[in-house]
């Protein structure tokens, strides 16, 4: 009797162990399943930057598929100096602007057009993400994009003595830029990118060469969920640079609200397309010749819902 009681206790004990295993099984099974699911899934890293521009130039970010991004950008005159000072209300009198429309054809290909005040220039580009930073099944440490840009100056030659030569060939009005963007989101807050760029100008309006080789460096550090601090610098290689020019250096803040991104920045460059700002600017940070600018981005969902 005692023996069978012992067996009963033992069997209940064994049963207890089985139950204990059952309870942990649910959690364990889920953990194992989710690990497997994560391993078999490629997770593309998103939100490396708040928008498709860092300050003047491109970030590695694309406009999403079927999204139209309307960009209104302004650059003012230098705060101090010839185009600044109290007389020019610290540069506000010398505003130039660019109106741009970017559109995502797919999640890895976007196109854009723009029109800038400066030389009454139209520009067009596409941005193709060749590689996308990802983890999981496909692990990719960086995003690689290719951004070719073309711009066409439509300023009437009679409007500027500098441009009389433009009368000869329409091709003189064309400028090109070819850019690669290699970037990585290192953490939630920090993203960095390199932008090797070649700009070809058919008819430079300065004493510089036709071809400019530059290496851009850029990054952002998030300051909060909806704000970030950005830096963008385009270093022109010494062998092919515009004499007397200073490399384009810009710092700025992104402020995101619902569908808008406001980008406020200080820069020494008035140009807002690669063909204009990569060759640098006569303004020098060292002499305090900096100017204020902003980009406003507003996205709209157009086309088919996916």
């Amino acid at each position: 009797m005692i023996k069978s009681l012992g067996i009963l206790v033992l069997s209940l004990f064994i049963h207890g162990i089985c139950i204990a295993q059952d309870t942990s099984d649910i959690t364990k099974m889920l953990e194992a399943e989710i690990k497997l699911a994560e391993k078999n899934k490629t997770e593309y890293i998103t939100a490396t930057f708040k928008t498709t521009r860092l300050v003047n130039g491109h970030s590695l970010e694309n406009t999403a598929k079927h999204v139209l991004d309307v960009k209104i950008s302004h650059r003012f005159g230098t705060i101090i100096g010839a185009t600044g000072g109290a007389y020019n209300i610290f540069g506000l009198d010398n505003a130039t602007m660019r109106l741009g429309f970017d559109y995502g054809i797919t999640n890895t290909l976007m196109i854009g057009i723009g029109r800038s005040t400066d030389y009454k220039t139209f520009d067009g580009f596409f941005k193709w993400k060749i590689l996308r930073q990802s983890k999981g099944k496909i692990s990719m440490p960086v995003t690689l994009s290719y951004v070719p840009t073309i711009s066409y100056e439509t300023l009437n030659p009679s409007d500027s003595v500098l441009l009389l030569d433009l009368k000869r060939y329409p091709s003189h009005r064309l400028n090109y830029s070819n850019q690669l963007i290699i970037g990585r989101k290192f953490s939630d807050g920090l993203s960095l990118q390199l932008m090797p760029t070649i700009v070809h100008r058919n008819f430079p309006h300065d004493d510089g060469p036709h071809d400019i080789y530059a290496l851009g460096l850029g990054g952002r550090q998030k300051l909060g969920k909806r704000t970030s601090f950005n830096v963008e610098y385009y270093y022109q290689l010494q062998s092919n640079r515009v004499p007397g020019s200073h490399d384009a250096l810009s710092i700025g803040f992104d402020i995101e609200t619902g569908g808008h991104v406001f980008q406020l920045h200080m820069t020494n460059s008035q140009g807002m397309t690669e063909t204009k700002f990569v060759p640098g600017s006569l303004n020098s940070w060292g002499k305090g010749e900096i100017l204020f600018g902003f980009n406003i981005s507003r996205v709209f969902n157009v086309g088919k819902k996916h």
């Binding site: 023996k3 069978s4 067996i7 009963l8 069997s11 064994i14 049963h15 089985c18 059952d22 309870t23 099984d25 649910i26 959690t27 099974m29 889920l30 953990e31 399943e33 989710i34 699911a37 994560e38 899934k41 997770e43 998103t46 939100a47 999403a64 598929k65 999204v67 939630d188 969920k225 909806r226 609200t257 619902g258 569908g259 996205v299 969902n301 819902k305 996916h306």
Partner: protein, 185 residues
Amino acid sequence: MKGGMITAMILTVLAMNASAQMYLTRDAKVTFFSKAPIENIEAVNNEVTSVLNTSKGEFGFVVLIKSFKFKKALMEEHFNENYLESNTYPKANFKGMITDLSTVSFDKDGSYPVKVKGDLSIHGVTQNVEATGTITVSQGNILVSSKFNLRVKDFNIKIPSTVVNNIAEIVDITVDAKYEPYKKS
């Protein structure tokens, strides 16, 4: 006699163990719906993993936050970046019990209304939740569906005053899961 008793006990233990039936799904669907004056926001996640122990009425869900798909890309980005902070809190978990398990016969086809309760963790916050649902048994598979509401604030998700008209304070969650018997591989 004694041998028979031992055998019976061992058999009982084995039988109880065998009845611990486990069911699994890797593609349960969880939808999120927010109704607000300016816009409605809906997101669907078709990659939800869930396990159900029919003998004990225990079940669990793991939801990968980044697998929620929105109609608008920017909504998806904001959902992950600003609200759910999915890099810091990549998963939502639920572990709970069917509280009226006795009313369900998992070996008989039919539809059974049930009450469930358990712990739901979202955005690093765990809350005790109760909900009602329906269990449908059909040819060895088990379908579970449930609909309940969550208060965004309860999970420490802050909605800035500028978008109070875009995002609801209380959102609807719908769960649809089709389980299959779990076979150990």
